[in-house]
């Protein structure tokens, strides 16, 4: 039998959970259920919506362009992920070092690009790496070099997108790592110093293992954001050269909003969501949920 205290406790629980639950339901659950429903129709975004069963899914699983876009997305993610984790970690270690001056200003400067919208970042990077009038090629020519064909070489194009993505997100993940580093007890470092541990040894044997939960969080967030890359690509390469930087989100957007195949795009989105959720699940399992 629930006591008065128990009932108050439950009420307090729902009171605190309610705002998040309402937001989650409104902006995730409801659209998810709608999307599931639309995936079985030929909805064109406005006037046509007929039930067509599994036709969208049959078409999707036989669409070579879907697999190509997914493959490109995975390759881009695998290439960019190490930089997304290692660079912010190293930067965080640097800006938390005792010998570094003006930490506040440095952290602010590194964090500022995270505040820019992805499209603005993309357009800025495009201006820098433009093949004809870009700043980087201008500097290369000034130094007597041969300008690089950023837009024509898919490896260079992918590198530019990855560079832009890392530049824009390093500050955000740096902040997460700083939080993790500050939570490591100073006594452990003191003990290591007494035992004669060098800085490098301390970093690899103490800092990194102690940051396991933080590293897992950064890895998970980075993976999801890389898999969902869209605005940067639109701002920089628009999916080119050819279709070499047309990732899965571009593919979904093109189907849904350019070709008005909302039903088909919903089917693609659901399949992609399941794939991405599976990847996150595997990460959880491998990292043991981030436990040390």
């Amino acid at each position: 039998m629930r006591t008065q205290y128990g009932k108050r406790h439950v009420r307090a629980f729902w009171f605190f959970v309610a705002p998040c639950l309402i937001l989650f339901t409104t902006f995730f659950l409801v659209p998810l259920l709608l999307s599931i429903g639309l995936s079985f129709t030929n909805y064109d975004g406005w006037k046509t919506m007929d039930f067509i069963g599994l036709k969208n899914y049959r078409e999707l699983f036989s669409d070579i362009k879907f697999y190509n876009a997914l493959g490109r997305t995975f390759r881009y993610t695998l290439f960019s992920l190490p930089f997304k984790v290692i660079v912010p970690l190293l930067v965080a270690v640097l800006v938390t070092a005792k010998s570094v001056k003006a930490k506040g200003i440095v952290r602010t400067m590194i964090y500022t690009p995270s505040l820019l919208s992805a499209l603005v970042v993309g357009i800025t990077i495009n201006w820098m790496f433009g093949a004809e009038y870009g700043l980087i090629n201008y500097l290369i020519k000034l130094m007597g070099g041969v300008p690089l064909q950023w837009a024509l070489n898919y490896k260079l194009a992918t590198f530019v997108i990855s560079f832009a993505s890392n530049w824009a997100s390093t500050g955000f993940y740096m902040v997460i790592f700083i939080g993790g580093i500050n939570n490591i007890s100073g006594e452990i470092y003191e003990a290591a110093a007494i035992d004669g541990s060098s800085n490098v040894q301390t970093f690899f044997r103490i800092t990194i293992p102690m940051l396991a939960p933080t590293t897992f969080l950064v890895t998970l967030l980075s993976t999801v954001n890389l898999l969902k890359e869209y605005a940067l690509v639109q701002g920089i390469t628009q999916g080119g050269p050819g279709l070499n930087t047309t990732f899965i989100i571009q593919f979904i957007f093109d189907k849904g909003f350019n070709q008005m195949q909302h039903g088909y795009a919903s089917a693609i989105s659901l399949v992609v969501m399941i794939i991405f959720a599976s990847i996150a699940f595997v990460q959880f399992k491998i990292s043991n949920g981030g436990d040390r």
Binding site: E132, A151, Y154, G242, N258
Partner: protein, 423 residues
């Protein structure tokens, strides 16, 4: 008590500021607001915006101009319609083609005989009914610009209307311009399906062919494949490949304005911008080349339509009646420097060079091919549009052959439309 009163007063102030910012004040008694939707941010010299402002000043009404970029219109327009928040007047190239039921039939309000028939056909793009969902606002044609100084340096004489170049002449001279004309690229072309399609039409190719009441897909004909292969070779030789291969947001018009291109395939809509902005080299308009079968030009443009759900339909129609008088349309045309869609009204420039350029652009109209008209009447773009662009991009980038690019596209178009494949 004092604190509560302060809070209430501040809230009232903020709320009234919010309302004030959200409403458009009418400037005088009887003044109404005409909500106009444009598809790109207008420059200060934009002819349509200038004309709208002139109308507003003359009639004492107010304008509320909104810009919905071309790429966003397909998603925003249905949302606006569902939310009953449509503009009163829309300048559009495709919304009326895609959603003809959402627009008033202009033939019920305007005398359509005042318009050039070809302009109406091309811009309204409704080949199934007699309804005129829009009326022509900006009537455009593809054309070729050239860098006169680069031609002089390379020792090239520009073609004339009487003696146009062949495609072989074009290729030879583009290479020469790159070698001796002091330009980085002999030739550039807007990354637009319509620009490329002229190369297809001049060799007798087409997207579809009419067969009775239906069509057959013909995009993968041998001559089309050969032309695409040639175009791929041009991109690898004397054209800025990144434009057509994708991978860049660069606009070839900027390349031409910077003097980096000898020959630029674009359209009459760029003439005004070049006239006002290019000051560091001499340039002009040349006739487009002819192929093994004929010449080709593609007409296009933007129309003005009034949504059926617009709140101020009558105001929009009164603007259109004002706009399409000879005097007011002449004023618009003088600023737009484009082709006229109104019978008996032409742009008469003062500058003799502009007069010559316009004669050449006007001569392009005669090159519009039957194949283009047939393709337009099939409305194939309602089935696939971006896929054609993607196929071209992959071919130019070397990811797939010209044969595979066009055959694969022909296959999916055939499947979606139900039309048989001719090849």
């Amino acid at each position: 008590m004092k604190k509560a009163l302060t809070v209430v007063l501040v809230s009232l102030l903020l709320t009234s500021a919010l309302f004030a910012a959200g409403t458009k004040e009418a400037t005088g008694a009887g003044s109404k607001v005409l909500k106009v939707m444009l598809s790109e941010e207008p420059s200060s010299e934009d002819a349509l915006l200038g004309t709208l402002k002139k109308w507003a000043a003359e009639t004492g009404n107010t304008l509320d101009v909104m810009v919905i970029p071309y790429e966003d219109q397909l998603t925003k327009f249905p949302l606006m319609a569902r939310n009953n928040d449509l503009p009163d007047l829309i300048a559009t190239t495709r919304l009326a083609r895609l959603y003809p039921d959402e627009f008033l039939d202009m033939a019920e309000y305007l005398d359509m005989s005042i318009f050039e028939p070809m302009a109406v056909e091309i811009i309204v793009q409704d080949y199934k009914t007699e309804k005129k969902s829009t009326v022509p606002q900006q009537f455009t044609i593809t054309n070729v610009f050239y860098n006169k100084d680069a031609f002089a340096r390379a020792g090239i004489t520009a073609p004339t209307v009487e003696k146009p170049w062949s495609l072989e002449d074009l290729e030879r001279n583009a290479r020469l311009l790159q070698q001796k004309g002091g330009v980085k690229y002999g030739m550039a072309m807007d990354s637009s399906r319509a620009r490329y399609d002229n190369l297809m039409y001049v060799n007798g190719g087409s997207m579809v062919e009419k067969e009775g009441d239906t069509f057959a897909v013909a995009i993968n004909s041998p001559q089309n494949i050969a032309m695409l292969q040639k175009f791929v070779d041009w991109n690898n030789s004397f054209m800025p490949k990144a434009i057509w291969a994708g991978g860049t947001n660069d606009n070839p018009a900027d390349y031409f304005k910077n003097g980096d291109v000898g020959i630029y395939f674009s359209g009459s809509w760029n003439y005004n911008a070049f006239y006002t902005q290019i000051k560091n080299f001499n340039w002009g308009v040349m006739p487009s080349p002819v192929g093994s079968v004929s010449g080709s030009a593609i007409l296009g443009g933007s129309g003005l339509g009034v949504p059926t759900g617009a709140k101020n339909k009558d105001l929009a129609i009164s603007f259109l009646k004002w706009f399409y008088t000879k005097e007011n349309f002449q004023g618009y045309l003088n600023q737009d420097k484009g082709l006229s869609s109104l019978v008996g009204v032409t742009y008469s420039p003062d500058d003799p060079q502009v007069v010559e350029d316009y004669k050449i652009m006007q001569s392009e109209v005669a090159k519009v091919t039957y194949a283009f008209s047939t393709d337009e009447s099939s409305m194939w773009r309602n089935f696939y549009d971006n896929e054609y662009r993607d196929a071209m991009r992959e071919a130019v980038n070397g990811d797939i052959s010209a044969h595979k690019a066009l055959t694969d596209f022909a296959t999916i178009l055939s499947k979606k439309s139900g039309w048989r494949m001719k090849y």
